[in-house]
Symmetry: C6
Subunit: 76 residues, 6 copies
């Protein structure tokens, strides 16, 4: 199972970087819980709970922090 | 769905940067829960709970950390 | 509603920087829950709960991290 | 109420830096809940709960991260 | 018990770095709870709970932040 | 009570750095709850709970981030 698509943190734009952050977060969940049917069962639990969504947002914010630094904040 | 408005982390001022941080956090919630009606139902749950608001504030603080670094802290 | 008082992260001293960190955290809560009467109702819930206060302290610590870096840690 | 004792993040040693981190965390709790008698009531709640202590430890770790960077990690 | 496999944070690629981040996180859990049978009992509790998986994802994101910085984001 | 063993963040290797991170986290808990008998009572509560272990792992990850930066990631 691939954890870092394209095996790189470098993206052309912040938008791509943000989507990579979401992907890294999701791939890690998939790595820790490889059973897709279990993940499917869990989805409503977090997608319909404000605090669960916020906690997931915190993970994306942390991943994005890393990716943004990797890309020197796309100051280009 | 656009996750990073204007596809840039660069803003003219800290105030703009702070609003971008809130926007990034909110757009990510929207990306993870695309159903606006569900988000509408969830809003009272977090907007009327001290810990939920604090957790959301933690996400904004993390996003702002990234944006502030991107803008070299607007040291101009 | 202003989120960053003075529209700057630069302060003369760490003490001012710390107070700005608390202000940023509080202003964000106010931005997410603009109804002052609701915030008033919520205050006892977090001000009288150890974990709630700790979580709020985590937000201030994260905001201060950003402000301290902005001011090069007041190494002057 | 003083939030940053000595109005400086600079300390002679990591040990002093660590104690400053604990102090910053505690002073912020005191700033958010100025009533010492309430804090006294709350202390057992967090000091006798593993997760509460861990959450408080997370705040200290974040504060220390800032102070360590301020002191260039005492690489002297 | 070894906490950092290979006693290095340097990896050839982001993918290796990401796996090292997961390993660091897991090894620390093992260090704090050395009883493998207990960890086995605990696994379903976190692997079948959305918030638990998210919290574990937050740890991996933080570890990866460190490893990515160590490898200068594999900008090579 | 000593919070930073050896009063230094500098270690020869990542492995030593990781152990120092665990020690810093534990020493802070001990500082906040000095009663060893209470800590003994609390241990099973966190060592047998997946989320508690994860939260403790988050603290270690944050402490390690600081120590790794202090040692320039042992890039030597």
């Amino acid at each position: 199972m691939e954890l870092v698509p394209g095996n790189s943190l470098l993206t052309a734009t912040p938008e791509e970087g943000r989507r990579l952050a979401v992907t890294l977060a999701r791939k890690t969940i998939g790595f820790m819980q490889p059973d897709a049917s279990v993940r499917e069962v869990l989805r409503p639990a977090y997608a319909n709970d404000a605090d669960s969504l916020t906690a997931a947002g915190q993970v994306v914010a942390t991943e994005f922090q890393t990716i943004a630094a990797a890309n020197d904040y796309w100051r280009g």
